[in-house]
Symmetry: C2
Subunit: 312 residues, 2 copies
């Protein structure tokens, strides 16, 4: 961490990247880090770039910058294990690259790497970085909101394994900066009548097979309920935790593919996800099918994983 | 707190009471306190009495004791503001009575009272009690699970206002005792296919009026979906957080009354609850109707509260 701080001190321009389709933890890490650097070193130019996410846009607004800003700049990439998923790819234009991540490393990109899979969120790493050099660094409410959001979203509100005493210490420290938990919760759990109607659909139309629960989210359903793809994908959680069904998934239809959100509270499912062009965490992965005709094979593979798990 | 510790030291028999229809925080406080006393003073007789709750029975099993056990004993009542709601009423048979609570005080019962409304859960008070005398007191994993469960359930997983740095410090300290957050989560969020079907019903049949969302949970629905009254009542959360509807409620039909679970993320609603034979927190209260014929008047009263709030 000290090396990272020294690099930050050294560079005048710092550009912070995350991953494609950013989530709360990605945004939280990016904007948390920006807030720390910007407030500690007001003369530095600090940018957050990459794709945007409507879901967590209360955390901060992404900057749009020209290529030449990268000249002699430091690129920091957070929360991204796979090089190909970094958004946007211009991070390579930076003079040096730092990787900060909590995922199992896939690509060892970057000149300096701080990767620690014991952290349940990347935002907790940034908060820990701040707390470790609290005497030197400054953090405002805005950055605290960002990091708190990252911690909350990546841990499912402090529910997932990997949450530790340190997670709560960091969360508590951020609350002391004035974070209003109800404000963040209302932002994260805002529901529209359309979404409520969609939930009714999900609960009434899911399919159960041997230990596996799933739902096909087709284009006509997404259009009928007038929700965004992001919103449609978010309902995967509704299918979880049903007794006797340790694995669940949502299949979301796109023009040229079917994206899968695969979840488990029993067997490890990221190897299965790898087989279907995806990956992720042991209990939460993404994958894809080329079309619905691949679905029966996928279901069979899930059932095999569940069976092996139940027999173990 | 020191006074309470001294009383605990003084008595040989200690009987811990909670409130009727106990929730996670009530159980968490009762069994957390029992664990601390029992492990610190192995020779003392410590009992948890009162009604049981299937929902959180993984936290501990209630003791059944005879009246004469109360002779010369210390009664401790946790998490209960209203004397009439203490379960069971034999707490009065104790030689002395201690009240530990985080609700706005209604009845000032007890010889010693520790009431602090700044705590978002009573279990956090017990954890704080332990942490304040950590050198003298002993706590095992069982007690930590109990208190963590109390903190999690009463704060809606660290979401409600009142959650502070101290809340997270206590949660972190309990995790260090070996609490497995995924285990507790799986216990608290266990779902049956029946419950999932009921959720589908809720999302498809709620009623919206001016700023108010509600559902009538009649006996025939509870029977049709084959769920317990407790499970039926638990779905109130599904109706919350819909944009434009700051108040929501579930009306649960019982043989001689309709019980109301009333919630808000805007206006204060416990005064309204008081009017209908209930009470509770500013944003989460209970109340009752004598029958469905009172429903229109209740809706009107909610609408007035919402209107006043929107105009303020």
């Amino acid at each position: 961490m000290r090396k990272i701080l020294n690099k930050i001190k050294k560079y005048e321009t710092i550009i912070i990247h995350g991953h494609k389709r950013p989530d709360g933890d990605c945004y939280g890490s990016q904007f948390g880090l920006k807030d720390i650097i910007k407030n500690t070193f007001p003369d530095k130019k600090v940018f957050v770039v990459g794709q945007t996410s409507a879901f967590v846009d209360f955390v901060g607004k992404v900057d749009v910058i020209e290529d030449d800003v990268y000249q002699g700049a430091l690129s920091i990439v957070v929360d991204t294990a796979v090089e190909d998923r970094i958004s946007d790819p211009r991070y390579k234009l930076g003079k040096e690259i730092i990787k900060i991540d909590h995922h199992i490393p896939v690509d060892d990109y970057g000149d300096i790497r701080w990767v620690d899979t014991s952290f349940p969120s990347c935002a907790q790493m940034i908060a820990y970085f701040y707390s470790s050099y609290q005497k030197e660094l400054k953090l405002t409410l805005e950055g605290a909101i960002a990091m708190y959001t990252g911690i909350v979203t990546d841990t499912g509100r402090f529910r997932f394994r990997g949450v530790s005493n340190l997670t709560h210490q960091m969360a508590g420290m951020l609350l002391d900066k004035g974070v209003d938990v109800e404000y963040i919760d209302s932002k994260l759990s805002k529901e529209t009548l359309e979404m409520i109607a969609l939930k009714g659909y999900v609960y009434s139309n899911f399919v159960t097979t041997d230990g596996f629960v799933y739902l096909k989210m087709t284009r006509d359903i997404i259009e009928k309920y007038n929700v965004s793809d992001e919103q449609a994908a978010s309902v995967v959680g509704l299918l979880g935790g049903i007794e006797g069904y340790p694995v669940w998934a949502l299949f979301i239809e796109y023009p040229n593919e079917v994206r899968i959100r695969l979840r488990s509270n029993g067997p490890t499912i990221n190897e299965l996800a790898n087989k279907y062009d995806g990956g992720g965490h042991a209990k939460a992965s993404g994958a894809r099918l080329e079309g619905w005709d691949q679905l029966p094979a996928f279901i069979k593979d899930v059932e095999a994983v569940v069976k092996a798990y139940k027999e173990a």
